[in-house]
């Protein structure tokens, strides 16, 4: 008898946990009091733990922005470090609420995995890292070379495409984490490490002698990286999407974490006033408080601040804005208006 009851109970639990309804994620996040965020296992500039165990990075800032928008407190985030292989399953199964993990937006991932990409927080492209004494100037000189790659990435496919279309041969050596790829590269197992360019800069500073390796100029693919959420929950999709847009809009309007209080009190620009929730638009349309935009800018900063602090001029990586500059400055970062 108890067995039967147990079976029925287990069955009911499975059925309930399987049910999805719009808004379920936001409600669940509000009731548990934090955002469960899937990040990488350690990629400086994107998501990595510092010496105090605090996660930082441009991807981590996406989690913090969403937490700030919902709770008014950017610290209400718990992080799950995930390998490239684990990330989609973790999101599909509901283990995490959002996945900002330098993940490339592709047709297959957007349409067949039950996932949605909410936008692009970093425009990237695949490149090559080689040791200086190899004397290679271009990827086209690398016929027959071997490459260290991280498993389960678009990198594996791009590399195959690139060598096939240029009629060259290559040897792939595939590892689970980016840490293992850089260790194998340093041990001389491969001639080159290939990954998104931003990662190459990030991994290079992990070498014992970063100056011994150079990033080749070629970019062989488009890698738009962005936060991912589960398909079928439009309310949560909106929250994550507009958290990013708020940061980009803030940069465009010149609102920073330093001047946001002053702007909120005295700005007469209606665009700024709408962004900061002073007039016009309501946060409740997304199920959030009206000052969600203010909280993001106050606690996390605008897109430009996040970029500089984590990967740009103000960081160890020192990556130029390039494609990630605002559209008004020759880049691709463009957000729909908040109105």
């Amino acid at each position: 008898m108890t067995t039967t009851r147990w079976v029925i109970g287990l069955g009911a639990a499975l059925t309930l946990s399987g049910a999805v309804h719009a808004g379920a994620t936001l409600d669940a996040v509000k009731s548990k009091g934090f955002v469960q965020c899937g990040v990488s296992t350690g990629l400086p500039g994107f998501s990595s733990a510092d010496d105090k165990g605090r996660f930082t990075g441009i991807d981590v800032d996406m989690c913090r922005a969403v937490a700030a928008a919902i709770f008014g407190d950017a610290e209400k985030v718990k992080y799950n470090p995930l390998t490239a292989k684990e990330r989609f399953t973790a999101l599909q199964s509901g283990e995490i609420d959002m996945l900002p993990r330098n993940t490339t937006w592709t047709y297959t991932r957007d349409t067949s995995l039950g996932l949605n990409f909410t936008g692009v927080n970093y425009y990237d492209g695949q490149g090559f890292l080689v040791t200086k004494n190899l004397g290679v100037k271009s990827a086209l000189e690398m016929d027959g070379a071997s490459f260290c790659i991280q498993a389960g990435t678009t990198t594996e496919l791009n590399l195959a495409d690139y060598f096939r279309s240029n009629k060259m041969n290559y040897t792939p050596i595939t590892f689970d984490t980016s840490d293992q790829t850089i260790k194998a590269f340093e041990a001389g197992r491969c001639d080159a490490l290939t990954s998104d360019q931003s990662q190459l800069y990030a991994l290079r500073i992990k070498l014992s002698d970063p100056k011994s390796a150079v990033v080749l100029p070629e970019v062989i693919s488009k890698e738009p990286l962005g936060p991912v959420v589960r398909q079928g929950d439009d309310e949560w999709f909106n929250v994550v999407k507009w958290s990013l847009y708020a940061m980009v809009n803030a940069e465009e309007l010149g609102v920073t974490s330093a001047n946001v209080d002053e702007m909120k009190a005295s700005s007469t620009d209606p665009n700024v006033r709408r962004l900061l929730g002073v007039e016009g638009v309501k946060g409740e349309w997304m199920g959030l408080p009206d000052d969600w935009g203010y909280n993001i800018i106050k606690q996390v900063g605008n897109y430009g601040e996040a970029f500089d602090r984590n990967v740009g001029a103000g960081s160890a990586l020192g990556i130029a804005r390039g494609l990630n500059a605002l559209w008004s400055k020759g880049g691709l970062q463009y957000a729909p208006p908040i109105r």
């Binding site: 079976v7 069955g11 499975l14 059925t15 399987g18 999805v20 490239a84 292989k85 989609f88 399953t89 599909q92 297959t108 991932r109 067949s112 995995l113 039950g114 690398m142 016929d143 027959g144 070379a145 071997s146 260290c148 498993a151 389960g152 990435t153 594996e156 496919l157 590399l159 195959a160 495409d161 060598f163 096939r164 290559y170 040897t171 792939p172 050596i173 595939t174 590892f175 689970d176 293992q180 260790k183 194998a184 041990a187 001389g188 197992r189 001639d191 589960r230 398909q231 079928g232």
Partner: protein, 396 residues
């Protein structure tokens, strides 16, 4: 008597529903039905939820082009082959590692196990140290250790260590000449087959003659000479129908020849060394389980020590060793899935790694991978059980 029992009617027959056998069968059928219903519920619930969330299901993905490269493949493979093919490539790589590992672990294990029982103090202590060290360090660490220990000290391809310009060793692997067969090599293979059949027949004849007359014939030695000698002779007579494809340094690495990648070397090394420690203990326990009286009785009958070992001790020890050996073979095969830590393209790395991630079909891919490991393990288990049965004590 019958009337005293309330459940029995006047004819003395027990009603069907009170018969123990009938009830046992009914309960077992009910249990199986419940299990099936539960399994079916789990499956349909999973499928329904995946459908609701827009996750593609089914095995159709196996026919799609894979589009990624694999480090080592025993069968022709490139990016244009299907995901189904990546499954076979990964499976063969797993089987290769398991087979090599089992082979080396068995040899090393028997050697160390016997060494531990040696009367030589130093040899016995060295074997003890070996066993206690390697079976007490986690296998994953050993794999990492051997990978980097193998990789780090080796030179780059352009400074390769070489033996007579035909064998090269560098941190990309070991490069050996690959034999290329020409017309007429079939004769050599045929000669080998003939020699093997001849050796088997010779052994049988020798045994029958010994049983009949007591006269011995060195069947083992002459069989060995036959198996080696006849193909060599044929090879020489038919004008050496074999040439070698030597590895040549070109661009970044050697091309041609036979390549042993360092991932394979490290993995086989770690798996064999680790499992050999356990096999050595199994061998020791087997030999110690044969009482000393057996040896003394054999000596009393006038058998020489080697014959005693071969005919008295080992056959009895094997009965204890084989079941433990089976477990170790199964462990080794399953442990080979740790390959993914050093990038050896086994089933877990290729299929449950890259393929899973490129297709996103976790349920199907993991189910197939688990099914394969179960199947491999069951085959090994069946074979070892059959072998065990043959070696068991036949009681008369």
């Amino acid at each position: 008597m019958a009337a005293e029992h309330p459940s029995q009617d006047s004819t003395g027959k027990v009603p069907l529903w009170r018969q123990p056998t009938f009830r046992a069968i009914v309960f077992q059928v009910l249990l199986v039905l419940c299990l099936l219903a539960f399994g079916n519920f789990l499956l349909s619930n999973t499928l329904q939820n995946m459908e609701q969330r827009g996750i593609t299901t089914g095995f159709g993905f196996l026919d799609n082009a894979a589009g990624f490269g694999i480090l080592q493949s025993l069968i022709p493979y490139d990016e244009t082959y299907t995901y189904g093919r990546t499954f076979v490539v990964g499976l063969l790589n797993t089987l290769l590692v398991a087979a090599l590992g089992i082979f080396f672990a068995t040899f090393l294990g028997f050697f160390i196990g016997i060494a531990r029982l040696s009367h030589n103090w130093l040899v016995a202590r060295l074997a003890t140290v070996y066993i206690e060290t390697f079976r007490n360090i986690p296998l994953l660490l050993q794999i990492m250790f051997w990978y980097f220990a193998v990789l780090r000290p080796l030179p780059l391809p352009r400074q390769s260590l070489s033996v007579g310009d035909s064998v090269f060793l560098n941190n990309r692997g070991l490069f050996l000449p690959r034999p290329i067969v020409e017309d007429g090599f079939g004769l050599v293979v045929a000669a080998l087959l003939v020699a093997i059949i001849g050796a088997v027949l010779l052994t049988r004849w020798a045994r029958r003659r010994q049983e009949a007359s007591g006269q011995q014939f060195p069947a083992g030695l002459s069989g060995f000479v036959l198996i080696i000698g006849l193909p060599l002779l044929t090879y020489w007579v038919s004008g050496s129908p074999l040439h070698w494809d030597y590895p040549v340094l070109g661009g970044f690495n050697f091309r041609g020849g036979l390549e042993v990648i360092p991932e394979l070397a490290a993995l086989v090394l770690a798996l064999s060394i680790y499992t050999a420690a356990f096999i050595a203990e199994a061998v020791r326990s087997g030999i110690q389980s044969v009482s000393h009286g057996q040896t003394e009785a054999a000596y009393a009958l006038g058998l020489r020590p080697r014959v005693t070992l071969k005919l008295v001790i080992i056959p009895q020890a094997m009965r204890v060793i084989i079941p433990q050996l089976t477990s170790q073979y199964l462990n080794l095969t399953k442990n080979s899935s740790l390959a993914t830590a050093i990038g050896y393209p086994d089933l877990v790395n290729v299929f449950a790694g890259t393929t899973l991630n490129q297709t996103g079909q976790a349920v199907e891919v993991i189910a197939m991978t688990m099914g394969v490991y179960l199947l491999i393990s069951l085959v090994i288990s069946l074979f070892m059980n059959w072998y065990n049965k043959r070696n068991q004590l036949v009681e008369r």
